[in-house]
């Protein structure tokens, strides 16, 4: 009976699981998961956390982020210790923003709960590490999903960062419901950067089915990709170092020349 819920002891932690391999889960996140009584999240992320007695799983489908967050807050208000799990980092196109949206819109009493966010290795860092240092200069992270923002905003942002010379990491590049956005983004990139600009397509980094390819920009639009793919478009200065029997290293030098 020591674990009976009691109002006041509940908490919500939004936890980043990293790219998938448990060796990338931080000890801090692992400690929180070990304390949690309820696990809330998109089902493949919930499935990553090992079973143990007393752990209640609430796995849900994609696209119900705010409902899921409100559920977590309500459970914590009832005295439960709740971990909301995200792949990668929860603050990067994942559950943390949804949690605070639900907090702001919900029961004012929820604001007295203990709410923490546990950072994780986000996909662009894992993908970059696999190929070298493509994010070596200034860079940005843009979600290609137009579920929550108009496509014109996506393209305006892409144009701005392409013109400004930033390396571009694309999250949520493609899905069954959004099949053409990645191709459109890469064609837009080709208007601003040379056809040989390195593009990294990193799928499921840190998982058993990992595959990482490096292609010139001119060929990248035709390469297969899916929801688990993270795309990095190099800057004009991004370079390849060939190596035998492996994908070339990709890196962006730290120095930038004066504007021409």
């Amino acid at each position: 009976m020591t674990d009976a819920p009691a109002p006041g002891r509940g908490w919500v932690a939004v936890v980043g699981l990293g790219p998938g391999d448990p060796r990338y889960l931080t000890p801090s996140a692992a400690a929180i998961l070990a304390e949690a009584e309820d696990l809330i999240g998109y089902f493949p992320y919930v499935a990553r956390v090992p079973e143990r007695p007393g752990l209640v799983r609430h796995a849900s489908d994609n696209r119900v982020e705010v409902e899921r967050a409100a559920h977590a807050l309500a459970l914590a208000a009832a005295g439960r210790r709740v971990a909301v799990v995200s792949g990668g980092d929860p603050g990067v196109f994942a559950m943390a923003a949804a949690l605070f949206e639900a907090l702001e819109a919900g029961d004012p009493a929820w604001r007295r709960l203990t709410i923490t966010v546990e950072p994780g290795i986000t996909a662009m860092l894992a993908a970059a590490a696999r190929v070298g240092a493509p994010l070596g200069g200034d860079f940005c992270a843009i979600s290609l999903s137009d579920n929550l923002k108009p496509w014109e905003v996506v393209t305006a942002r892409l144009e701005a960062v392409l013109r400004a010379g930033l390396v571009v990491a694309l999250y949520n590049p493609i899905s069954r419901a959004r099949p053409w956005q990645l191709g459109a983004a890469l064609r837009l990139a080709a208007e601003h950067r040379g056809s040989e600009t390195p593009v990294v397509l990193a799928r499921a980094v840190g998982r058993d089915d990992e595959s990482v390819r490096v292609l010139p920009l001119a060929e990248a639009a035709d390469a297969p990709a899916d929801m688990a793919t993270l795309v990095i478009i190099g800057a004009e200065s991004t370079r390849l170092i060939p190596r035998e029997g492996a994908t070339p290293y990709v890196y962006t030098p730290r120095s930038v020349e004066a504007a021409r």
Copy 2:
């Protein structure tokens, strides 16, 4: 004698130590550090790795990144197992790009070495997690250091991302040699975003002397900051949720309205 160096067995790993607290060091990075014979890096990062018999430390001052990287590659070519350590993530304004610069410019034989990059929790993820979810929308990471790029490039990039509505994380905001750049960047931001836009100044997150402040943009330029500070400038949509007795939560909603 089993550990005598032998050409062919050497490797270089560029390892991200995360923000400082060992609970944010990934098990994968910790395993690499446990295997390393030589530790190379800026002295405060080298000092973070616990002493153990057989571990040789090569701590150096700031601003000698490429020399340090070449040293690491030469040691590995002589058969040593070398960890090059960076705070945060080594691919984000840290040692990984310098390592590949040294590799490309150096002895062609170095290209046959085993070179890996171990990702880490970079400062903007740690800082964001402390206050909520300020990176909840599209965002960018820009270094304010003009040691390696002209200041005009920095301001042109800032203007572009401020106009485009991205959340902006500023690395290397200020130092004794660069005292005015952060103020200039924040004044530029104030030309594009409202005076109440939340700005996060997060110093030494995950270390004993951590301090995190959230200020309106109009006041941020006068706030103290140093080399260990990571600055996040919110988007127009970034919101505060007040809470009793603590810094308000800061988050950027996932949705973006159509352009006005």
